[in-house]
Subunit: 308 residues, 2 copies
Amino acid sequence: MTMRTPERLYINDVAPRDGFQNESTFIPTEQKIAIINQLSRCGLAKIEATSFTSPRAIPALADAEAVMHQIDRAPGVVYTALVPNVRGAERALECALDELNVVMSVSETHNQANLRMPREKSFAQLSDVIAMAAAHKAPVNVSLSTVFGCPMEGPIAEDDVYAWMDRYAALGVGGITLCDTTGMANPAQVARIAGAAIARFPGLDITLHFHNTRGMALANALAAIEAGIVRFDASLGGLGGCPYAPGATGNACTEDLVHMFEQMGIDTGVDLQALLAVAGQLPAVLGHDVPSQVLKAGTSDRRYPAPF
Amino acid sequence: MTMRTPERLYINDVAPRDGFQNESTFIPTEQKIAIINQLSRCGLAKIEATSFTSPRAIPALADAEAVMHQIDRAPGVVYTALVPNVRGAERALECALDELNVVMSVSETHNQANLRMPREKSFAQLSDVIAMAAAHKAPVNVSLSTVFGCPMEGPIAEDDVYAWMDRYAALGVGGITLCDTTGMANPAQVARIAGAAIARFPGLDITLHFHNTRGMALANALAAIEAGIVRFDASLGGLGGCPYAPGATGNACTEDLVHMFEQMGIDTGVDLQALLAVAGQLPAVLGHDVPSQVLKAGTSDRRYPAPF
């Protein structure tokens, strides 16, 4: 049986934003820049480099301007950043981001918990961001949280997901990321929702964002490519905590995801050895181990001498 | 897109053999019995309860007879054990095992490293075991190691795998387990080999055995069910080390595997909550943390109160 697989995948590394944001100690700006610069040479399609949230709300990324002004931007890499509101959009546009990534949750409760406002207020606020970006011809991606389930509300009606996608598509965004924010997605659900999203929005770049909370990140990614998805968020080292699953691992790990797909013969564009060299610096930079499996075990091509 | 999934899966928990064998401290016989007795009430199709290897070779499982004589054998559960040779078969048959599981590697180098003899000598020895089992009408399963790659030789020719399967099928075994001994398999390879094995051996029970060394165990299991596989080995807590991938996780974790498939709406026969209750005892019994993810994060159905 031959699996139908895509020829080429496009990987967005979110560690500099989603990962570093969740670290308990501030990562010095020059270390952030060094890691982003190395990631820029790994063949990633996109890097979520920082967040233009209020420095009071997320002090870990208070150096967004410094990071964006000092990194070496590689040709062909899309540099994106999280933008929560018009003030953030102004800051992002001043930094000439290639893309603005706006975020809201499809779960009312999670939106309230995470963004401290109802979904409709988020939508209004993000609509202003999208309008401002359009005026500057800056592409916008929308990341929808809790698409595959909310840790407080439980299952999310799939029609609600498509309805929110409809509203953002109508505003002219270029892409939508479907986020499994707390690792509740399963492969059958991913196949269903990803397939429906692709069929309904042929003009949009659909990205999938998984967490490995319950060990299913790579299985979900496999289900996604079988449904036709070619774009993934992932995080170097598997960084990125989840406040609703203590002790659990974080985002899908970029090197584990790339390793699986490259082993399957799929071109991810990524130089895995270069990526592993960057990931290998994380424990020293962060002061703790990271969930990455391939970093520990080596690639499947690793050989051992016979013990005789 | 709707994923084609089987209605029912059959799970073999190998932790009492493959897991306990790899622990550095001896697990008291009564604790082994207590765990097996609890596993027997979880709805597992099969339990690999121990090994009839020489007690000198594997002291961790030197209590095979005591375990088999003292456990409560649940109706409907197949109790299997690893049997390396005719002496082991005699011991296993005295204990009235439901099945004898014989093991060899399809890699010559791995067979030498693991079993200290060439493959042909293993085949001759296991042929004697199979003949003895047949005389006692005891079913035999063959576990073929390194089917998806050898950590010393590298890739294994797929035709060699089918050739070894042919030889064992000709001896009348009831089932063959294809083992990804050191976590080298990828989903495209699994789909191809599992599909070919099912097509070639319609009368055999084909089981897949994955390790999560590089994070792909659940993705490989997903690829396997899409290829038509309905039988899996897995290990409670994810126990079971791998000497050729230091620091890496072990076998596919039973509760993580069951959780994924149950979330997908597939009947595994297993009572996941009961299984998690058994897995939750492992850290205290073994004196260390276990790789299980669902044990840490809870199931996808876990709910948290809204923080406002």
